[in-house]
Symmetry: C2
Subunit: 137 residues, 2 copies
DNA sequence: ATAAAAATGGACTAAAATAGTCCGATTTAT
DNA sequence: ATAAATCGGACTATTTTAGTCCATTTTTAT
């Protein structure tokens, strides 16, 4: 699986926060609305916070909100925050792990595929996704 | 990881067999040349055999050779034989596993990405890879 | 002041997927 | 007969993924 559950959950959450604009939303609300185990979501939001995507408020009536403009957040960025660089094949992540990589005609293929996937994902931002969401209902 | 080890090994093996043309090659030779654990490779070749990509000869001097023309085998085919359909995200493999898929603006994205990746991989055949291999040395 | 409701941090665990191993049986060339 | 190969099935080890749990801290409403 290219996209891990935690990444999927992160993306859903950011989409939810995008729709809520500047409103502060707590973990349980997101968990409920997006069908995410709330304890797990806790960890995910912590990570997004550390990376400057969202901001948090502690204490009663606390919660989270989006720090950046939805248009300024792309999907690739979130994937990389949650699970590191897109991994197609071992050698495309770390060339040293493959004894063949220097004489292998597959290596360039994996690298090119990765580049293409990254380009495609970088083009998708959360403002777009939000619009599509409303279209879809 | 999109590409599992077994798939990578399968691809390497087919590339090797492509170069050997009609010569019969045994597991240990492939394992040695392509840095694959030979017991594991055994399983992989069995699968490729069942799917009609290679043919085997039992007994002394036995081994394997490519049944199809390298030009007629594409990478996507081998990936799907070894690990099933390209899996980007849970919902792009099995829609029923995601409660949101019907109202989710991400779902179409994953489907489209999958289609693009598949198209790209389908275009690459083993004759091409072989040529590139010789260029590279 | 106090209680309740929230995030925070760290350690831990369960389940699933991945990457193999091992061995006995069968087949075939010499 | 023997050696060298595939074949098939059961088994195992390791790693990754997907969480859980709990004690602590912070803040707010009352």
């Amino acid at each position: 699986m290219l996209i891990k559950r935690k990444t999927d959950y992160a993306i859903r959450s950011i989409l939810y926060l995008s729709q809520k604009k500047n409103k502060i939303v707590d973990v349980n609300e997101i968990a409920r609305e997006k069908f995410i185990p709330s304890n797990f979501l806790t960890k995910i939001l912590q990570r997004l916070k550390k990376k400057g995507i969202i901001k948090s408020f502690k204490g009663k009536n606390g919660g989270f909100y989006l720090l950046k403009n939805p248009r300024e957040i792309n999907i690739l960025e979130i994937i990389e925050i949650m699970q590191g660089p897109i991994s197609l094949n071992l050698c495309a992540v770390d060339k040293r792990k493959c004894k063949l990589s220097n004489v292998c005609s597959l290596h360039p293929l994996w690298l090119e595929m990765r580049k293409n996937i990254e380009r495609e994902l970088k083009r998708v931002n959360f403002y777009e996704l939000m619009k599509d969401y409303y279209k879809r209902r």
